[in-house]
Symmetry: C2
DNA sequence: ATGAAAGCGCTAACAT
DNA sequence: ATGTTAGCGCTTTCAT
């Protein structure tokens, strides 16, 4: 933005008012007469005036900007969430700063710091697992924030999410009720990822309550990719004592497992049941369709925006209620063989 | 950011230097003695100082911020691209403003305007189809920009992309060479989407050069979803005179079509050949695997970042060369029946 | 309802 | 190599 660019003083001069009035007129302050508001608006229009956000932010101490730090966009579930978040924010004239950390906590701290430096009015994070230094910064700079995709049992942080553990318990129960006894699980990397750990814990809880447990070998952690899900599944199917139910902590792995079974000639659900988590569009198209726990991906983004927007209006809003997940039973689950 | 937050003057005082020196020390300017640089750094560290980006932007006329306006994140190809873009920018200490417009040109203009208002140092756009008012703004505010996912034949705009038309011609040629004569095509909504129109034009060109053409009925435009691709395919398969080759302008539609065939009991590629465009991870997993034109999604994001970063360094860089696409022949293509 | 004036926190000449 | 000084373009008291 250089010298040739019209600034507020130009607009003011053209409209024949002071800068202060022009400023008020443009921010729709009720303090200006409709007639002068119009004159200013016309002058701005005519000059092609665009406010200088940095100057405005410096003077007003608000940037009109919200940051989001997510693991990655290479997972459709986050992409969907972020898309909804951005759209909701845009409706309220807020812009979204997006940063991803690819599951590295140090990167996360660094990018979050940079967003704070950019004067974001608020920050969206994913999950509850974060460097204490990050929470300290948030506190120090008084940046409102919300954690998403999880709930905080200690209620120390505002969360827009759902109970990953309870949801996973529900998944396991469905399988247990079908009569399964030999379980295996495929999940993402648990380190620095509370969602994964909670889902695994939920499955363990459910099994334990029926006198079962997940052996050391029965849990495979993999990065998120269809291929990785397939590899894990092949590993399980290679064993002399195959599991009859493979619980996947996310749909990406489940879909990979599904394809692997097709390639292996393993019949789903007759020989093995598979469950996913998240519910992606494609999960419904597979044959048999993937049984999964649907999570409200877009709703998460929308709700996070809504919560933050309310807070930024100064409303001391209640800690939001957990969102609901939904068990979607399709064709990959059935009673175990025999 | 409020009164309690440490500012540069606090750092300066603590380090026993002037604000100017503190400023220089923190921006690694070579003008300060190593010893004082260290003192300042320590003071900043101790105080938990974080620069005020808006103030810095106002004074320096650079925001350290780049904007991207994309159609949507609900299409994995853009998500992948944006992810790579963001990561490349972060490495250079730039932050990414992300906005999507869901294929609405008015929304695009509006969000772009807002990004310019946020003082982005540069802007990334998708495609060549944009409101002239948008290009005018870019010009007026001297915002460097780059168009992605396409090339500009008139060479009026810098582009990081590939030749959609030539790529589509190549797709059609492969099918023609296999002996296909009855074609149909599924694509996204062409209005305001040059990538779609170019791909369709490419197919038409290729057919025409062999004395064929795509009838009015043989082209179905649909929003992007697996389901929509399936619907279009069902429509084609319902016809008395079925096409022997269905060219999809993107993998999402192709995958939907693939699943529809499975549901319909239509055998691919014996009864019908299908081709995609983009190459998504799942395309390789389908049985038969989807034959498609691979586009360098992550590379697009990286290259866009690289180009803009160079320009922002003041280097007058050449208009970048088109990127290469790659024909990936898998199992959904074969000679037509009979 | 409008104007005058004082910054917001930082950088960048310009000095030295 | 460091300090002094003048803004960057806007908002916001405080007057009137």
């Amino acid at each position: 933005m250089d010298r040739t660019t019209p600034k507020l003083s130009d607009v003011a001069r053209m409209a024949g008012v002071s800068e202060a009035t022009a400023s008020r007129a443009l921010s729709d302050s009720q303090l200006v007469r409709e007639k002068t508001r119009l004159r200013v608006a016309q002058a701005a229009e005519l000059l092609g005036y665009v406010a200088h956000g940095a100057a405005r932010a410096l003077a007003s101490r608000r940037s009109g900007t919200i940051g989001a730090v997510i693991p990655t966009l290479n997972n459709a579930i986050f992409a969907t969430s972020v898309n909804a978040l951005q759209q909701s924010l845009a409706q309220a004239s807020y812009s979204l700063f997006l940063a991803s950390h690819e599951y590295d906590p140090k990167t996360e701290l660094e990018v979050a710091r940079r967003l704070i430096e950019r004067s974001v009015d608020a920050l969206v994070l994913v999950g509850t697992d974060h460097d204490p230094a990050l929470f300290a910064m948030l506190e120090k700079f008084r940046v409102p924030y919300v954690l998403t995709w999880a709930i905080d049992r200690q209620r120390r942080h505002p969360c827009i999410g759902f109970d990953n553990r309870a949801s996973a318990i529900e998944v396991a129960r469905h399988l247990l009720d079908l009569g399964h006894r030999r379980f295996a699980m495929i999940c993402g990397i648990g380190a620095h990822n509370d969602r994964v750990r909670e889902r695994v814990a939920g499955v363990r809880d459910a099994l334990r309550s029926r006198g079962l447990q997940l052996g050391e070998q029965d849990l495979i952690e993999k990065p998120y990719s269809f291929a990785a899900g397939g590899e894990a599944m092949r590993e399980f199917m290679r064993r002399p004592q195959r599991p009859t139910a493979v619980i996947c902590a996310n749909d990406v792995h489940a879909i990979g497992a599904h394809f692997a079974c097709a390639a292996l000639g393993v019949e789903i659900p007759r020989e093995v049941s598979i469950t996913g988590f998240d519910d992606m569009e494609i999960s419904a198209l597979l044959r048999p369709g993937l049984t999964t726990m649907r999570v409200p991906k877009a709703e998460l983004g929308r709700a996070a925006a809504e919560y933050l927007l309310e807070r930024l209006k100064g409303h001391e809003i209640d800690a939001p209620e957990p969102l609901q997940v939904e068990w979607v039973e399709r064709g990959t689950t059935a009673a175990p063989p025999d």
